[in-house]
Symmetry: C2
Subunit: 133 residues, 2 copies
DNA sequence: CTTGACTCTCCCCTACGGGGGAGGTCTTAG
DNA sequence: CTAAGACCTCCCCCGTAGGGGAGAGTCAAG
């Protein structure tokens, strides 16, 4: 099938399919004489895999590596578990960071309620933030 | 003082100070005859405010608005509290999202341990991810 | 044979906060 | 006076996953 049909059946845009070709996660089976990308039925399944992998936080570059392993006949499971572990660690760090920021905002908000806006120091931009430094 | 001295005293780069001028959060007091940016002592304090505001998640565009309010003689406290509230809500949503993803990764990891790599379906790219769809 | 839908490549654009470097001017110490 | 170092503007670059549109070739139906 051609790119338009694949995109329609996959429920995505032609641009996205072309982009996936470019980054190497979804290559067409072949190119027609006119240069058109031609895909087999398996392209649909492959597309769904890419989406599922993206949904669990893998980047297209990583997904490409997973697919390359598979195409070389190896089982990418170990590699995938590794990736997932690393992503989980990054995620934990990121969540902790955001939590800390969230706590800081809560603190600022409580302080803002205690401060009197009329007693704002004119030399500062805003005592809500300035004093919290 | 000129831009190099301000950057050194603030512990940042000249590029950053120029960028802050461009986006309007830290304007020089004046320009010398040669076009050089000239800053007063207060620039250092203003710089610190910008950093503090960035640290609590405000974007430069928002910081510029806060400063503009202040420069118009108004107290930006209410606006700042508003901004902080909105940022907190965004943060909550983002944290929940990342938590959900983290839980999904945990689930995948547990499943990967139960699956036998040797019984990977050759028709799929990776059963760890595929089956989780 | 023509027309309209489809496809191709190529290039610029998004958010965000700057970094790198070119090419030209200014200042200041020796 | 001259040379180094500081400064100026302007333009392109990073990451991520595409979106928008130009200009040109291709395919199918009427």
């Amino acid at each position: 099938m051609r790119i338009g049909e694949l995109a329609a059946r996959a429920g995505t845009s032609v641009k996205t399919i072309r982009y996936y070709d470019r980054v190497g996660v979804l290559r067409p089976a072949e190119r027609g004489a006119s240069g058109y990308r031609l895909y087999g039925e398996d392209a649909l399944e492959r597309y769904r895999f890419v989406r599922a992998a993206q949904a669990v936080g893998l980047r297209l570059g990583e997904i490409r590596e997973v697919i390359a392993l598979r195409d070389r006949g190896e089982t990418p499971c170990g590699f995938v578990v590794d990736l997932i572990g690393r992503r989980a660690a990054e995620l934990d760090a990121r969540i902790a960071e955001l939590q800390a920021l969230r706590d800081e905002l809560r603190r600022l908000d409580r302080r803002a309620r205690r401060l009197d806006p009329r007693r704002c120091d004119p030399g500062l931009v805003c005592h809500v933030i300035d004093a919290g430094t």
